[in-house]
């Protein structure tokens, strides 16, 4: 199978598609961390929420496009409520307590999702765009997975433009670089953080709803994706878009090929990679702060 070029094409595309999902999730986490030294462990739960809400919308409206539009909005709204109810309140208590609260949130959100949607795998079959297959280099490949890759690339391009060419982007970069100086220069770090947090929620919701038709939705999917996402953030380096992308590609590729070649040890290989990166570059591959 190794000599078969179609095998490689399929697996490389699979890697890219997983990498893009990881990127959508990790980019929000990493920038929030860079800005506020705060990690939202419930980020994966918002991904699951995106998939589940998307499922409900798609079933009700028979349209995935409605789900793509509405699910991220609803997840963002829920994120905003959580922020105002819990995270903002802990601002002065230090990052450790914030992380513990978001750890508690994982439990709460998981059971809420089980209560509302049950524990079955939920999938939609009708109304899904790009549901056919496409031929690439003589190889049949599900078109929907290419769509996932395209969404990831588009989001990366958008974020890049946002960061490099808007006032918000400049504020974020200044805040990540040196929060104290940034606030001295009149950047409202609190507000910037809130906006970035909401963008992170929206991207998590988007990732969930985009993944749902291909991988189905279930309550436990949030934690399953959280672990590689955290590894991506640490491997990529804190607070940087480039790091999130590089980390996603590295971990997505490792997991995909690891699962194909040594299914039992894919997780262990990811761990070995993490260890290797931490040993050589303790701050990750592309840390925003040097």
């Amino acid at each position: 199978m190794l000599a078969d070029s179609s095998f490689w094409i399929v697996q490389i595309l699979n890697s890219l598609q997983l990498s893009m999902l990881l990127f959508l999730l990790s980019v929000g986490l990493t920038v929030i961390f860079g800005l506020m030294n705060f990690v939202n462990l419930a980020h994966g739960s918002l991904y699951a929420l995106g998939a589940l809400v998307g499922f409900t919308i798609a079933r009700a409206t028979q349209s995935m496009w409605a789900a793509y539009l509405l699910a991220p909005v609803i997840v963002t709204a829920i994120g905003a409520v959580l922020y105002m109810l819990l995270i903002d309140r802990l601002r002065s208590a230090g990052p450790m307590k914030q992380v513990l609260v978001t750890f508690g949130l994982i439990f709460v959100l998981l059971d809420v999702q089980k209560y509302v949607w049950g524990t079955d795998q939920l999938g939609v079959t009708s109304g899904v765009p790009f549901s056919g297959s496409i031929e690439i280099l003589g190889q049949i490949y599900p078109a929907y997975r290419l769509f996932i890759i395209a969404v990831g690339v588009a989001v990366f391009a958008l974020l890049y433009l946002l960061l490099e060419h808007t006032r918000l982007g400049a504020e974020v970069r200044a805040g990540v670089d040196d929060p104290e100086t940034a606030s001295c220069l009149g950047v409202n770090v609190e507000r910037t953080f809130f906006v970035v947090f909401l963008i992170g929620c929206a991207l998590a919701g988007l990732a969930g709803v985009v993944a749902m038709p291909e991988f189905s939705a279930e309550a436990g999917m949030g934690v399953a994706i959280l672990v590689p996402t955290l590894v991506v953030v640490v491997v990529g380096g804190l607070g940087s878009l480039r790091g999130a992308l590089a980390g996603s590609l590295l971990i997505g590729t490792t997991l995909t090929f690891g699962t194909v070649f040594v299914p039992q040890f894919a997780g262990i290989i990811m761990y070995a990679l993490l260890v290797a990166v931490l040993l050589v570059r303790p701050a990750g591959l592309f840390p925003a702060r040097g």
Binding site: L90, L100, F103, F107, L278
Partner: protein, 338 residues
């Protein structure tokens, strides 16, 4: 400080007395709960050493607990070794794994330390979940208990076994009290409060952090061998993040860095789980809810509340039991030192 320690030891005595009284009254089901409490008390104390004393908050502690249980099962069920040898070797093996993991995770600081421990714990879970040789997601059964018949003790009797575990937990508590009164114990609190200053004073900080992570891991593994003997059947769920979360809630609910707090937390949470599981399927919801509530509550768990109440009764000024934990400070200090 002396009266703080006396207050905590008094609490520990009350807890032990309560467990023993409960033991004289308990039926079969009660004995099972008592045994579970004792196992979790040891596990929670081991986490408190790392998290409460040394400031290394781990969200993957159950992975070490489960690893110890699996090693015990592997040695006894699959390889046929005697249980006594297996307890020792499984404990040591878990300590060795924790040493390796600790050497890596102590390279990252503060919040990212807890993030990485969660990720590594989940990988451990996945490893046992997928490992067919160790039963995969079906787990392993047919685990036997220590054979103490030579001294006339039959651990297969649920009541005797529960009492045995309570005694082991009490001995563990006493040994840890002694450990914490040593220079090493003082270093742990120094690492918690201000690792950067400890380094500037001459302490090789990461070596010590790794050592306490390994010791705490070995103790968690020991608790795992007891858990395997208690249930005589293990699944990868022992390593799952939800178990880690449960232990962490025990520690925080009882009071971080108080040693007796985690024991009280283990008692309260185990009882609560058994009570609530009759009423609701959503135990995790309540667990997360409690965790958020306690963290938002500010005081240092049950021991913090009791100390505050006790001080109010005596009319004394509030002492440091209440604000006994402020991990953020040590973290900032260590960041500043880098």
């Amino acid at each position: 400080m002396a009266h703080v320690l006396q207050f905590r030891h008094a609490l520990a005595l009350v807890a032990l007395a309560a467990l023993l009284i409960f033991w004289t009254q308990a039926g079969y089901f009660g004995m099972e709960i008592l045994a579970e409490i004792a196992v979790f008390a040891i596990l929670a104390m081991s986490l408190d050493l790392a998290a409460g004393y040394a400031g290394l908050v781990s969200l993957g502690h159950a992975a070490l607990f489960g690893f110890g249980a699996y090693m015990f099962a592997l040695f006894t069920v699959l390889w046929g070794w005697p249980a006594s040898l297996a307890v020792v070797l499984a404990t040591l093996a878990t300590g060795a794994i924790a040493l390796i993991v600790g050497a890596v995770v102590t390279r990252v600081q503060g919040v990212f330390f807890i993030v990485i421990t969660l990720a590594i714990g989940e990988m451990g879970y996945e490893f046992f979940f997928k490992n067919r040789a160790l039963g995969g997601d079906d787990g392993l059964s047919g685990i036997s208990r220590l054979d103490l018949s030579a001294i006339g003790v039959d651990l297969n009797d649920p009541g005797i076994f529960a009492l045995f575990l309570i005694v082991v937990a009490a001995i563990t508590y006493l040994l840890l009290v002694r450990l914490l009164a040593s220079p090493y114990g003082a270093v742990l609190t120094g690492l918690h409060d201000n690792p950067g200053r400890m380094r500037a004073l001459g302490l090789p900080v990461r070596t010590y952090q790794t050592s306490i992570f390994a010791f705490s891991g070995a103790l968690a593994g020991f608790a795992g061998t007891l858990s395997a003997q208690h249930t005589q059947f293990i699944t990868p769920n022992l390593l799952h993040w939800t178990t880690s979360g449960e232990v962490l809630v025990m520690v925080i609910l009882g009071g971080l860095g108080t040693l007796v707090g985690p024991v009280i937390g283990a008692v309260v949470l185990t009882l609560l789980r058994h009570e609530l599981s009759n009423v609701t399927d959503y135990w995790g919801f309540w667990l997360g809810f409690f965790l958020i509530l306690i963290v938002l509550g500010g005081k240092n768990g049950i021991v913090g509340w009791l100390a505050a109440g006790w001080n109010a009764l005596r009319g004394a000024r509030p002492d440091d039991d209440q604000a006994a934990d402020e991990p953020a400070e040590g973290e900032e200090a260590s960041d500043a030192a880098r």
